[in-house]
Each structure stands twice: as structure tokens, then as C-alpha cells.
């Protein structure tokens, strides 16, 4: 009898796939930093920021769009653009398909336009849930098109980065998207365009080494991991342990790489201020005195 019970214990803990689906998704979530458990409803009200320690939960592109724009003011661009498989990389299409189901996105970036504090903006929002937010041909093309659209319309560009870097499965084509997006930003900038970059967790590799670092204003969310090379690779290379705050938004601010670290709850206000300083009326205000 004793044996019977211990044996059973081994198998009783993992619910079946079906059972897992039956549990309503996420009623509560535990903060990975301070371990405080909060109702998702409550979390959502606070823009997915832990009210106990200030931890900023990573959020998906659609959630971000919902909390960023003025109510019902935004539309999505290029929703149906999808990756082909230029290198015929084994299993790549399959992985894309499963991430599509997971995120409801066709690719790792959402692009569109909408109003923020009553100012029309072209906005890209990366989603780390899709292939770790990596940049391949589609991400590069959607962002480039967005910048070109903004240039034509004379509206600001805002990009929320959340990416592990360039996408391995598209090889050199992914690498070249760094040049493509940066070139588009340069042309946009030469034409007087305003670009605000907002780095969220994580912004690394080929994305931090291209459009994410090129803002007229570079902002970041608290605690976001931002850097070029991975922490483990650096530790292996230099053979030493790195400081705990290495490559955090606060670390970058200290080293002169950011204008501000902006908590999620203050972001709309900060964006509103930047946008109002850049609206056409403001530039001529002094003349009227």
C-alpha cells in the first residue's frame, strides 16, 4: 500500500494538455522580481507594472498599442506581410507558424499609425513573443515602409524595440535589414523627420546596433536589457563577472546612451511633451512675441 502511493505521486503533478487549456489563461501572475502575486485584472489596470517593486512585465504588441494610443485612434499597416524562406532553412516555416498562433501576429513587429496625446504618429511595436522579436526581411521591410510613410505624411516615427537581434534563419538578409532600416531613418532625418526610439526588454544585437540606437530621443523602460553582445559571451571573453546592473536601461543612462528611462505609466505624458515641442506651431511661437 505504501509503495502504491509514492509511485502515484510521481505522475500526478503534470496536468494533460487538455486540462491546461481548460484553466482560464492567467488569473494571477507572480512577479519574477519580488515574487508578489497579483491578479491579472489588477496588473492590466497598472499597465503590467508590478505595484510592489516596479517590475515592468514584457507585453505583446497589441497590448502595447492598446495602452499607447488615444482611444480608438489607430490602424495597422502591412498586417499580412509574411516571411518567405530565402535560405530554405530547415524547420523555419514551421516555427513561424507556431509563433503566429501564439501571438496572433504574422511577424515580430506591429506597424501602424494612430494618435498619441492628440498627435498623429507612425508607430512600430516589436513583440518578443514572436521569434524573440528577431529582425528578418519582414521586420526590416515593415519598419522601412513605416518610416517612408511617416516621411511622406510629415508625421513623427516612434519605434518600440523588443528584440534579441537579427534573425539567424534569414542569414545575411537579416543582417542587411540593419542597413536598410538605418538608411531609411537617415533619409527621414535629413528631411526633418522626428524619430523617438523606445527600448524595451530586451533590445540587443542587430536591433540595438541599428534603428533602436538612432533616435532623436532615445528612451527606455526601467530595467530593460539593452546591449550589443550577450552577457554570457562577454563574461567568457573577458573572463570576469559583470556588475549586476550591466546592460540595464539604468546602466545605459549612466553611460550616456539614453536621454531618459521612462516608467510605463509616464510614457504617454513624456511622449506628449516631446511631440508638443516638435509640433509646427511651437517652432514659430517665439516669433510672435
Amino acid at each position: 500500500m505504501k509503495d502504491f502511493f509514492t509511485k502515484k505521486k510521481k505522475y500526478a503533478t503534470v496536468p494533460s494538455a487538455k486540462a491546461r487549456q481548460d484553466v482560464p489563461e492567467g488569473i494571477v501572475r507572480k512577479c519574477p522580481k519580488c515574487k508578489k502575486i497579483m491578479y491579472v485584472k489588477e496588473l492590466k489596470k497598472h499597465l503590467f507594472v508590478c505595484q510592489s517593486c516596479g517590475y515592468h512585465y514584457p507585453i505583446g504588441a497589441y497590448e502595447r498599442a492598446e495602452m499607447l494610443f488615444d482611444a480608438d485612434s489607430y490602424v495597422e499597416f502591412d498586417k499580412n506581410m509574411v516571411s518567405l524562406n530565402p535560405l530554405q532553412f530547415p524547420n523555419y516555416m514551421h516555427k513561424l507558424e507556431s509563433d503566429r498562433k501564439k501571438t496572433k501576429l504574422n511577424e515580430a513587429v506591429w506597424t501602424g499609425k494612430g494618435r498619441i496625446e492628440d498627435c498623429e504618429c507612425a508607430v512600430a511595436i516589436m513583440d518578443k513573443g514572436f521569434r524573440m522579436g528577431s529582425m528578418g526581411s519582414v521586420v526590416g521591410e515593415k519598419i522601412t515602409r513605416l518610416i517612408e510613410y511617416a516621411g511622406k505624411q510629415g508625421i513623427p516615427v516612434i519605434i518600440f524595440s523588443a528584440s534579441g537581434g537579427a534573425r539567424m534563419q534569414e542569414g545575411v538578409l537579416s543582417l542587411m535589414q540593419m542597413a536598410k532600416t538605418s538608411a531609411a531613418l537617415k533619409a527621414f532625418s535629413e528631411n526633418g523627420g522626428l524619430y523617438i526610439s523606445i527600448m524595451t526588454h530586451p533590445t540587443t544585437g542587430g536591433v540595438s546596433a541599428s534603428f533602436a540606437s538612432l533616435g532623436d530621443y532615445n528612451l527606455a523602460e526601467p530595467g530593460a536589457l539593452i546591449g550589443f553582445a550577450g552577457r554570457r559571451i562577454i563574461e567568457q571573453t573577458i573572463g570576469a563577472e559583470l556588475p549586476p546592473d550591466f546592460q540595464t536601461a539604468e546602466f545605459l543612462l549612466k553611460h550616456g546612451q539614453l536621454d531618459q528611462v521612462v516608467p510605463r505609466a509616464e510614457l504617454r505624458t513624456v511622449l506628449g511633451r516631446i511631440l508638443s515641442i516638435h509640433t509646427e506651431g511651437s517652432a514659430e511661437a517665439w516669433d510672435r512675441n
Binding site: 526590416g140 510613410y149 534563419q169 534569414e170 545575411v172 535589414q177 538612432l214
Partner: protein
Amino acid sequence: MGPELEFEKPIHELQGKIAELKQFMDEKGIDLSDELNHLQERLANLEKETYGSMTPWERVGVARKLNRPTTLDYIPLLFTDFLECHGDRLYGDDSAIVGGIAKFHGCPVTVIGEQRGRDTKENIMRNFGSPHPEGYRKALRLMKQADKFHRPIITFIDTKGAFPGQAAEERGQSEAIARNLYEMSWLSVPVICVVIGEGASGGALAIGVGNQILMLENSWYSVISPEGAAALLWKDAGQAEKAAETMKITGSDLKKLGIIDKLVPEVLGGAHNDPKKQAELIDQALAGSMDQLDQLSPCQVREQRLAKYRQIGDYDTAQKNQTDLSIFSYSSSSDKQ
């Protein structure tokens, strides 16, 4: 010279046999020239066969040979009046990137290249050809100077990647690379980039936004090294050989993908076998590119470069956007959903 490459072993064995035979003939005074001719013929065939059908991984091996010519080996063979210019005027001088002014066929140019060491001591001094932000900022300073004085720019790419270190991150490695991509795209002088060895990731691209990209036959260029790709994709750096195939990293692959403009042939067995002859082959390709780009006005030079990068990418949508050569008339096929 570094370790012997596996695929070249039969060639080196045969070369050894031929040398032995020659020595034997000299010492004993016996004429075995029939035998010798036969062996030499066999060697020639073997070399042709071996080097004519190299796998991507074998090319990576050749690209990494310690005695493969570097930027500073090619500069005196391709240019005259080279004057090296140091420093980024902001922080320091990074010897993993060299740059300066020179003349190419009598024409003033700016030359910039990634520089690895040719032995261990020099490699330590040059940080194994992995630049810090100050290296990229030096390169940008020299490129802006070239733009001011209307000099074409020639860059040589040869790096295992931008240096992954604490100081590099603190000084903004990402920003330095991004800034170069941004500014290079807008230069109004011709930029020709030559991949001479390894071209890994953003560290290579940071001096690689050009009007024409040339690549030596035994060089490679990709988003990451084969080892890095294998480690990330399959959690096993040992599968680098497979990654070298799958990632499509060789010059001929990149030519097929439309990323590079010219594949520069190498001397049999690799550039290290005859750097002078190799420099002649590069010279020919470079002179051709210079002639082509010389036909363009400064504005056209910029537009050609912007258009070149604008059309890179493989995606599916109702409307693959048509390449638009004029800079300010943006195509906005994106807002009609």
C-alpha cells in the same frame, strides 16, 4: 600558419613526396624525372580537383589562415602614398581598424580596413581584429572627411565581429555600429567594400554599407559566425560545418542572393599562396568598380546606394514595393489595409 586543414592533407602529403624524390635525385644523381613528372601531374590534378570543389566550411578554414593577407598587406600592393590616420578624436585609437589616405591608380582615396594580427603578438595588439566603438568612430571620422574632400572610399572587411567586452558596451558599441550604417548610407562619394577574410555580423557591416560589395572567393560574410549560429540554433557549436552550409555564407551564395556585386577570384588554394597575384586580382575588380561609379553624380551615388539596400529582403505580400530611386518620393503602399 596555424593548424593544417584536413581537406588539404592529401595535397601536402603529395608535395612532401615530390620534395623527397627531388632530394633523392639530387643526392644520388639518379634520373627519375619520368616518375617526378608523373607525381607533379598528379599534384596539379589533385589541387585543381580539391580547390575547385571546396565546401563552405573548407573556405571558412582558408579565410581564417593566419598567413592570409590582411588589410595592411594589401594596402602597399594596391595603393601608393598611403598615410595612416589615427584616432577617433573622442576617446582613443583602435588598432583593430586602420585607415588613412592614399592614391589608387593616381586617384586620391580614403582607405579603411579591419586589421587582425599576423601572429599572436600582433593579434593581441590588434585585439584579433575585433573593433571597439572607437574603431568604428575613427572609420566614420575618416569617411566624413572623404565626403568633404570628394574622395572615394574603399573599405576592407575582415573581422570575427565587433568586440564583445564590458568597455565596448559602456562606450556604446551598438550606437557606434548603428551610427555608421546611418551615416554611410548618406555619403555622396562612392564607397566600395571588399570582404577579404571573415565578415561577421554588425561588426563587419559597420564599415560595409557601400555602392558595391566585393568578396574574395574564400571569404565569408553573414549575420553570425558558423560556430555562433550552431550554438544558437542547435545548442551545439560543434555543428559549425553544417551551419556554414545552411547559413549561405560564401561569396557565391551571396552573389546568388543578390547581396554582393562581384566575386573576386582567388589564386589557387587561397590568397596566402601569392598575395601579390591576389592583389592584382583585387586591383582589377576595384578599378572596374571605380570606373562604373565614376559615371555617377554625387547625388546619384547616394541614390544608387540607398536603392541597393532598400530592395534587400524576401517577403510575401500583395505588393512587393517597387524600388523607387528618388529619395524623397516615398512609396507608401503600406497604409491601405
